[in-house]
């Protein structure tokens, strides 16, 4: 299913905080992202959902001015990320995926350094450091050497440095990856707090996280945006679809073809197995095609091993969108 991608006109108003147009980036011969376009409104929390290697980090590195894109244009608060990189960088707070920190510095020492680097006024800096330490609940670790902190706390130090200069836009790359579940809950709560006032772009490969934190989700797969909506609407728009999963003993191509011929079937995907294959058939809402399907399989002389009907959840969409196999 190729999701229709709606064109963003110049008429978007008020002007979006982040405008991304036709972004393409090559590291080698193959594009890591291609033709990526989206807008983020002021105050919005946007989720970037996609599996490993989808192009999330690449997109975020371009947004934050770390590297210029091969092609395309990004503006943040009206400033071009390439031409007016410094202006953009003043307005963006960034938590990279790997949470890079100077491990030999203390938490406060590090925040002081990052604050002065980010141009926080010397008078304001101690006050602001106190605020972010409070906000990120790092109060007991002011003088701790960063290298001695657990991953979860390092993540918080990473978030603390990202919000230190009160940026208009916060970019968080997989903010809960690799930390223990209790810390994940804490980190998500912190992001929720921040998202109430700030424009946030966060990436994740965890669907429930994105639906919990974000008002809008972009699903990115192999460098392309394949879907874009609110988490609720993404679920609703596909709730109208009936999904039938069946296991068949028989060759993939002819079975797929036979299933596609059934009236009312919108899509068939196959997952090869050892000597049986799993097929997922989608049908228009309200049509129970199980009779027709079993008939088609039996007519073809193949073995029908199991059949199940279900209505799609968002998790399924995600799985389907990002693990789809082309036949």
């Amino acid at each position: 299913m190729a999701t229709e991608y709606r064109e963003y006109g110049a008429s978007t108003n008020p002007p979006a905080m982040i405008q991304v147009r036709d972004l393409t980036h090559y590291y080698g011969p193959r594009p890591a992202i291609e033709g990526v376009s989206f807008d983020v409104q002021k105050g919005e929390v946007l989720g970037f959902l996609g599996p490993n290697g989808a192009g999330k980090t690449t997109t975020m590195r371009i947004l934050t001015g770390f590297m210029p894109p091969t092609q395309g244009k990004v503006t943040i608060a009206g400033f071009d990320v390439v031409e007016q990189s410094l202006e953009v960088r003043k307005r963006v707070g960034y938590l990279p995926e790997t949470v890079p920190l100077y491990t030999e510095m203390t938490v406060t020492g590090y925040l002081k350094y990052m604050g002065s680097l980010r141009g926080v006024a010397p008078k304001r800096l101690p006050v602001r450091i106190g605020e972010v330490i409070e906000l990120c609940r790092l109060g007991d670790y002011r003088k701790t050497i960063i290298g001695k902190l657990s991953k979860g706390f390092r993540q918080r130090v990473g978030i603390a440095q990202a919000i230190l200069h009160e940026p208009e836009v916060l970019v968080l790359d997989e903010p809960t990856i690799g930390i223990d579940p209790i810390q994940v809950v804490e980190t998500r709560r912190l992001i929720q707090d921040l998202g109430r006032e700030q424009t946030v772009v966060l990436s994740s490969h965890i669907l429930p996280e994105v639906s919990m934190l974000c008002q809008r989700v972009l699903i990115i797969h192999q460098g392309h945006i394949v879907a874009e909506d609110t988490p609720q609407r993404l679920a609703q728009s596909l709730q109208g679809v009936e999904r039938i999963e069946l296991e068949v003993r028989g060759p993939i191509a002819p079975v797929t073809a036979a299933l596609r011929r059934i009236n009312g079937v919108t899509e068939v995907t196959a997952t090869p197995g050892r000597n049986r294959h799993t097929f997922v058939v989608q049908a228009r809402h309200g049509q129970d095609l199980r009779d027709e399907i079993s008939k088609a399989i039996i007519d073809g002389g193949w073995g029908l091993l199991s059949m199940q009907m279900s209505t799609m959840s968002l998790e399924d969409i995600f799985l389907r969108l990002t693990t789809k196999e082309e036949l």
């Binding site: 001015g65 590297m67 410094l86 890079p100 920190l101 350094y113 680097l117």
Partner: protein, 238 residues
């Protein structure tokens, strides 16, 4: 300017909170002390410090890369370069800050050797001119050596590789003078001699300040700092 200062100050703090600065400082002091004693033991004591200054440049071939190797290589290793390059700091400001920090260390090390000079002035009656010239030369040489070390640190995430490559470049630049001597008097040999750091340093050690040599070291430093900025920029394209 505040940002250059922030970068420099952070690096200086790191040097003094780790044993590195002290170890390098002690080695420098110890070895230059050795050359200083040689100057004193000279059968014709002219109260000059030629051997001290010559020795100091040789020691810097080893020590300057040890000081600079951390500066950018570690940022790449830790991944902190991603935050550094997304902070509102220009690439050249990052390089300037890092460079300034090691320049301060170099000055501190040179200041410590002032003790020897003091001894010389107490117990002998040297001409102060050559001492100034020698120190100026040593500073210019050290500044160039640090710029070379900073470039190799920008090119790798491995500190050891950075140090070894920088030492190699410094050694080659130092000894091309001898290579030129072997080839004799062709145009090639003259060019090779012209790029040698030793050829340009000798006059300073003898107490002569020649603008030509000053310009040479400043150009050498500027070229390598410029290349460092480019190397950092190139990192964005990787």
């Amino acid at each position: 300017m505040r940002r250059i200062q922030a970068v420099a100050w952070k690096e200086i703090q790191v040097y003094f909170s780790s044993p590195m600065a002290y170890i390098v400082g002690l080695i420098f002091l110890g070895l230059t002390g050795f050359f200083f004693v040689r100057d004193l033991g000279d059968p014709f004591p002219e109260a000059s410090l030629e051997s001290f200054f010559q020795g100091a440049t040789l020691i810097l071939i080893l020590l300057a890369p040890t000081l600079t190797m951390r500066l950018l290589a570690e940022e790449r290793k830790l991944g902190t370069v991603e935050l550094l390059l997304t902070a509102p700091v220009r690439d050249w400001e990052v390089v300037a800050g890092k460079y300034l920090s090691v320049l301060v260390i170099l000055l501190a090390m040179m200041a410590m050797t002032g003790y020897y000079v003091l001894l010389l002035f107490v117990f002998a009656d040297p001409d102060p001119g050559p001492v100034y010239a020698g120190y100026l030369g040593l500073f210019l040489y050290g500044a160039a050596a640090l710029a070379i070390g900073l470039l190799t640190s920008a090119l790798t995430s491995n500190q050891i590789v950075s140090a070894v490559v920088a030492m190699g470049i410094l050694l080659v630049l130092y000894f091309t003078d001898f290579a030129a001597g072997a080839v004799k008097n062709t145009l090639g040999s003259r060019i090779i001699a012209e790029i040698s750091t030793k050829a340009h340093f000798d006059d300073f050690a003898l107490g002569v300040i020649d603008t030509k040599h000053v310009v040479y070291f400043i150009c050498l430093t500027a070229i390598f700092l410029f290349l460092t900025v480019r190397a950092l920029e190139a990192h964005r394209w990787k």
